[in-house]
C-alpha cells in the first residue's frame, strides 16, 4: 500500500463537450492514495463530469491528468482497460445490466478480470448479503426497488477491491440506516487502502467520516483551490 502518495493529479484540466462552453475549467488538485474525499457542489457544478474524468469515461479537452502515476491523457487507448479495473464506480443512474440478475451484475467486474466461476460464487454471495440483498440474488434489476438497485450498484463497484472507488450520489435512494451501512462499507474499504471519492449533496454524510476531505465545485471550478477549506466541519459523534 502506498498510503500518502499521490494517486490522482490534475493540472489545469478543462473539459468541454462539443463546441460548448467549458464544463470544467482550470482544475488543479491532487488526491492522496488512501484518502477519503467528498466532492460537493450545487447541481450542474460539474461533479459528474469530474468523476467521469476520474473513472476514465472521458478524456479532458486540455490539461494534464495523472492516475496511479501515469499520464492518462495521452495514454494509448488499449492500456485504459487495465487502469479501469483498478477503479470501482457507482454510477448516479446505477447502470445495472437489466437482463442480468443481481448476482450476475455484482459478479461482472470479477468476470471481466477473468476470475473463475467457482472462485466468484462465495465473494459475490457475501457481498450481496452485506448490502442486505442475499435473498434477492436471482432478482432482475427491474424487480428491485431504487434503493435495492443502488445497493447492487455499490456491491458491484466494490466487489473487486478497487484501488480507487468513485461514487456519484451513492446514498441518494436509500434510507438513513442503509446509507449509514453503505458509508461504513466505504469507510472499511478506505481503511484497507482504497481511495474513496464520493460526490454528494448530503452534508450529514460528509461530516460522518472524520478523516475525509472535501472538494467543492461550482460552475466547473474548484472553490477552494488552495485546499484551505478541504476539511469539513465534524459532527460531535464522528
Amino acid at each position: 500500500m502506498n498510503t500518502g502518495t499521490t494517486i490522482v493529479q490534475f493540472d489545469n484540466v478543462g473539459l468541454r463537450y462539443g463546441t460548448g462552453a467549458e464544463t470544467l475549467s482550470d482544475l488543479s488538485f491532487s488526491l492522496r492514495h488512501g484518502g477519503f474525499y467528498f466532492l460537493t457542489g450545487p447541481s450542474g457544478a460539474g461533479k459528474t463530469s469530474l468523476l467521469k474524468l476520474l473513472y476514465l469515461a472521458q478524456r479532458p479537452s486540455r490539461g494534464l491528468i495523472k492516475l496511479f502515476g501515469e499520464d492518462i491523457v495521452t495514454m494509448p487507448r488499449k492500456r485504459l482497460p487495465g487502469f479501469r479495473r483498478r477503479i470501482g464506480v457507482v454510477f448516479q443512474d446505477f447502470r445495472l445490466v437489466h437482463h442480468l440478475s443481481a448476482f450476475d451484475n455484482v459478479a461482472l467486474p470479477l468476470r471481466v478480470a477473468g476470475v473463475d466461476e467457482k472462485d466468484l460464487q462465495g465473494p459475490v454471495g457475501e457481498m450481496l448479503a452485506w448490502v442486505g440483498l442475499g435473498h434477492r440474488a436471482s432478482a432482475r434489476p427491474a424487480t428491485l426497488s431504487g434503493g435495492e438497485q443502488q445497493r447492487v450498484a455499490i456491491a458491484r463497484a466494490v466487489i473487486a477491491r478497487p484501488e480507487m472507488l468513485v461514487a456519484d450520489e451513492p446514498t441518494g435512494n436509500v434510507d438513513p440506516e442503509m446509507a449509514k451501512r453503505l458509508l461504513h462499507l466505504f469507510d472499511s474499504l478506505n481503511k484497507l487502502g482504497t481511495t474513496v471519492v464520493v460526490a454528494t449533496h448530503d452534508l450529514h454524510l460528509i461530516s460522518s467520516i472524520a478523516r475525509s476531505e472535501m472538494l467543492r465545485l461550482d460552475r466547473g471550478q474548484l472553490l477552494d483551490p488552495t485546499g484551505a477549506l478541504r476539511h469539513p466541519p465534524r459532527r460531535a459523534d464522528a
Binding site: Y55, L56, A57, Q58, R59, R77, K78, L80, P81, G82, F83, R84, R85, R86, V89, R95, V97, H98, H99, L100, D104, A107, L108, P109, R111, V112, A113, G114, V115, D116, E117
Partner: protein
C-alpha cells in the same frame, strides 16, 4: 487470469436475446441456399466443360464418301493405315457396320444399312493433345480423295465457350453472394452493437477489453451463421438432388455430363463452414472497429 480471455460460462447471459435474434439467420440461410446453388452450377458446368473437352474436342471423324462400295473400302483402308502412321494421331479405328447401323437407326430405322443406300465409311481418330485436325487433311485426302474430315472440336468450341461463360457467371454469383453475406453480417453486428450499447459501456468502464466484448458478439453471430448455413445448405442440397434426378430421367449425355462428383459435394458442404468463419471474421472486424471509436 487473462485480460484477453472471455467471460467464460457467463458469455451466454451477457447479451440478452436468444440465439436466433432477428432476421439475420434467415437472411444467411437464403444467401447460403443461393450460394450453394450457384456454386453447384459452377462446379457442374466446369465438369461438363472438362468432360466435353476430354471426350470430344480432341477427336476427328473421317468420312469416306466414295459411292462405289469397293473403292470406298479401299479408300477407307488406306485412310486408316495413313492415319495410324501420323504422329498427331494417338489412335484410330474404323466404325463397324453394327456401330453405323446404331448411329443411323433413328433416321433409317432397323435394317437401314441393308438397303442400297450408300453409307460412308467412318473412322474415329483420337488426336494427341494440342494437335489440330487441319494438319491431317492433306495426308488423309492423299490416301482417300473422297474423305471428309470433321473436327469435333470446331463445332464444340461455341458450346464449350458458352459453358465456360456460364461457369464463370456462376462463380461470379458465388463471389457476389459472399460479399452480400459479409455486408449482412456487418449490418447485423452494427445493429447488435447499437442494441447493446449500454451493456457494452458498462463492460468497458469495468475494464473489459475490446476483444472480450467482440467475443460476445462473435459467438452470437457465429451461432446465427451456423443455423443459417445449415438450413440454407440443407435446402440447396435437397433442390440439387431433385434437379439431378430430373436430369437423369432426361437421358441426355450433354446434361448428364454436368453431374456433381463426390469432391464437388465436399466443396459444397464446406460452404456453410466457410460461411461461419467469414461471419465471425467480419463481425469481429466490424465490432473492433466500432469499439475503437469509443474511449
Amino acid at each position: 487470469m487473462s485480460a484477453a480471455r472471455s467471460f467464460g460460462a457467463a458469455d451466454r447471459r451477457l447479451l440478452p436475446e436468444g440465439r436466433l435474434a432477428g432476421p439475420m439467420p434467415w437472411v444467411i440461410a437464403i444467401m447460403m441456399f443461393l450460394t450453394v446453388l450457384a456454386a453447384a452450377a459452377g462446379l457442374g458446368l466446369g465438369g461438363a466443360a472438362s468432360s466435353l473437352g476430354a471426350g470430344l474436342a480432341n477427336r476427328v471423324t473421317v468420312q469416306v464418301l466414295e459411292p462405289n462400295p469397293d473403292r470406298r473400302e479401299a479408300e477407307a483402308a488406306r485412310a486408316l493405315q495413313r492415319l495410324r502412321r501420323l504422329p498427331e494421331v494417338e489412335s484410330a479405328r474404323r466404325l463397324s457396320a453394327g456401330e453405323l447401323a446404331e448411329l443411323l437407326e433413328p433416321w433409317l430405322g432397323a435394317g437401314g444399312l441393308e438397303s442400297d443406300l450408300p453409307i460412308p465409311a467412318m473412322i474415329d481418330a483420337q488426336l494427341i493433345p494440342g494437335a489440330r485436325a487441319d494438319s491431317l487433311r492433306a495426308a488423309v485426302t492423299a490416301a482417300a480423295p473422297s474423305a471428309r474430315i470433321d473436327d469435333n472440336g470446331q463445332w464444340l468450341a461455341p458450346l464449350g465457350r458458352l459453358i465456360s461463360a456460364l461457369k464463370w457467371l456462376a462463380l461470379g454469383l458465388v463471389a457476389l453472394m459472399i460479399g452480400a453475406t459479409a455486408a449482412t453480417v456487418v449490418l447485423a453486428a452494427r445493429a447488435a452493437l447499437d442494441t447493446h450499447r449500454a451493456t457494452i459501456e458498462v463492460l468497458h468502464l469495468m475494464g473489459a477489453t475490446d476483444v472480450q466484448v467482440a467475443r460476445l458478439f462473435q459467438r452470437r453471430i457465429a451461432l446465427d451463421a451456423l443455423f443459417g448455413g445449415v438450413v440454407g445448405f440443407g435446402a440447396a442440397a435437397l433442390a440439387l438432388l431433385v434437379i439431378g434426378r430430373r436430369i437423369g430421367a432426361l437421358g441426355s449425355d450433354l446434361l448428364g455430363s454436368a453431374h456433381l462428383p463426390g469432391t464437388s459435394w465436399l466443396a459444397l458442404a464446406a460452404l456453410p463452414v466457410l460461411g461461419v468463419g467469414l461471419a465471425m471474421l467480419v463481425a469481429r472486424a466490424t465490432i473492433l472497429r466500432a469499439l475503437g471509436r469509443m474511449l
